[in-house]
Symmetry: C3
């Protein structure tokens, strides 16, 4: 068991493993597990039935894990919902909001004030900027970059594997530039770039990179004339 400040409000049946650091005025909900090596800043709120600080695990058919002993950092003012899972080796920065049932993998950085929606998933090696909004059920694949102020609508899907496991291939997700907005249930293919302030219509299937400041829609997606 780790040292818990008197200012912390800890629920029932909470498990806090060793080498966990907890800041001032932290709230931890019932039935939540904080695994070894997690660092929690001041004024962080965590819901019930979460699992935080998970060490990566694979079977023999999956991408090898880089051995490391990185911590999960949850910075001050972040709010974590209920039934959330977050891996070791990631940084949840100041005042980030993470919705219930969300899942965040290892080697992820989520910038200040960003919102990760309910049941959204962020895969490994992904960098999300400041003031981004990832809505409910959205899927941010691995090896992806979102610059600042990006909006990802509900149920958006991405891929980082052009050959779907068929051949050796460097995995690369989309690169989404500042202020871009992706409509609900759009599909983004691997390694494309979405331009600055570009808008992708709902349900679009975006197969190639787009310019800046345009509107794109359809399957396959094309630029709309306006």
């Amino acid at each position: 068991m780790s040292a818990i400040p008197e200012s912390a409000k800890v629920g029932e049946h909470v498990v806090i493993e060793r080498n966990v650091k907890i800041g001032e005025n932290v709230v931890i909900g019932h039935q939540t597990t904080i695994l070894e090596g997690t660092i929690i800043g001041d004024n962080v709120t965590i819901g019930c039935n979460c699992v935080l600080g998970i060490k990566p695990s694979v079977n023999q058919r999956m991408r090898k894990i880089q051995e490391n002993s990185k911590e999960l950092h949850i910075l001050s003012g972040a709010r974590i919902g209920h039934l959330v899972s977050i891996y070791a080796g990631s940084a949840i920065r100041e005042n980030v909001f993470i919705g219930d049932h969300a899942s965040i993998r290892e080697n992820v950085s989520i910038g200040e004030e960003s919102i990760i929606g309910r049941a959204a998933v962020v895969e490994l090696n992904t960098n999300i900027g400041k003031n981004c909004t990832i809505q409910t059920n959205a899927y941010v694949t691995g090896d992806t970059t979102l610059e600042d102020n990006v909006f990802i609508g509900p149920c958006v899907s991405m891929s980082n594997d052009k050959y779907m496991g068929a051949e050796p291939y460097s995995l690369k997700g989309p690169y989404i530039k500042t202020g871009a907005k992706i409509g609900n249930n759009a599909s983004l293919l691997p390694s494309i770039t979405i331009g600055t302030n570009t808008i992708i219509g709902a349900g679009s299937v975006v197969t190639k990179s787009t310019g800046d400041n345009i509107v794109v829609a359809g399957n396959p997606a094309n630029r709309l004339k306006k």
Copy 2:
């Protein structure tokens, strides 16, 4: 701790906060948390590792919460699965079924006998009628109405925000009339109406309101001639 009737069957490591009312013949699974102010009717069954009666929470970039002290009402005969989250201020009516991993927000009403599928999400301020079926992974956005006997297929997506956070805008989800059926993975845009008994094909992207008793499909969706 609240008063628990002798007829209740309560699992291990259950947390029941104060001011919770529990009816007769209620079953509560292991590791479940019932938060303050929840009202559970007779013959309700609740699975394991649920969190019920959650108070809304936001960060400073999100829609303000109306301060209230509303309860979560789970009415008689409702069945709640495992790993489910439900917010305070909602009503789960008689004999509703809620699948595992589902999430229901605040100010939601779910009508008698309706089914909310596994991992489905129902956002805030939404009204779902009687005998509706919301299938697995479907996303019912906020500020949405479903009349009675509506069928929402698996992985259906909706949006309530026409400008994707870009400007002040009154959020409004779809209005779906009695007996309409939405095929799997269809996308519905904000503020459209789906007509009575109208069928939306799987994978359609519905950008404008539809008439009654028709079949609509495609991206963008158009009426099928028959």
Copy 3:
């Protein structure tokens, strides 16, 4: 409480009901519940806050359950993530990997070495072969068959109900042959066959069966000439 071998490593607040069989060198995470009649092989790893061995439950509008007393079998070397739900009457075979937040229903078989992604759902009466990869958020509907070496991309959607509950109909999901690859967020309609080694493009809506060794894309999906 069931007999637990000395070689097992069991977390805090774990619930193990009666008639559970646990092999050698099993790891069970904190707050996990193992329900009655579950059989766990050697070297199985289970995460935190899981619910395993769930008995099916319905309301009166849902498909009747076949009464049985089948067990959940988790075979040797399988790795189960965190916040996972798995039903009684299914078999998770040797060295299968199941991601966090995933849900597996009853009467499901998952073949050796297969991977079930994070938050993926596999519905009832479904058979998944060996060395399959079901990626994050994918939805495998009920009454579905995947042969060996199938790849299902992230957020893929399937349906098994042609009439969306409107009339008596034999439910039947897709039949996906060996080596087929389904791109992210594609939609598969009920009872279609996807041919051996056939590739379905991201975001496609597949309304009819396909041949072997071809590439199919679009809404509705058609064969690409190459």
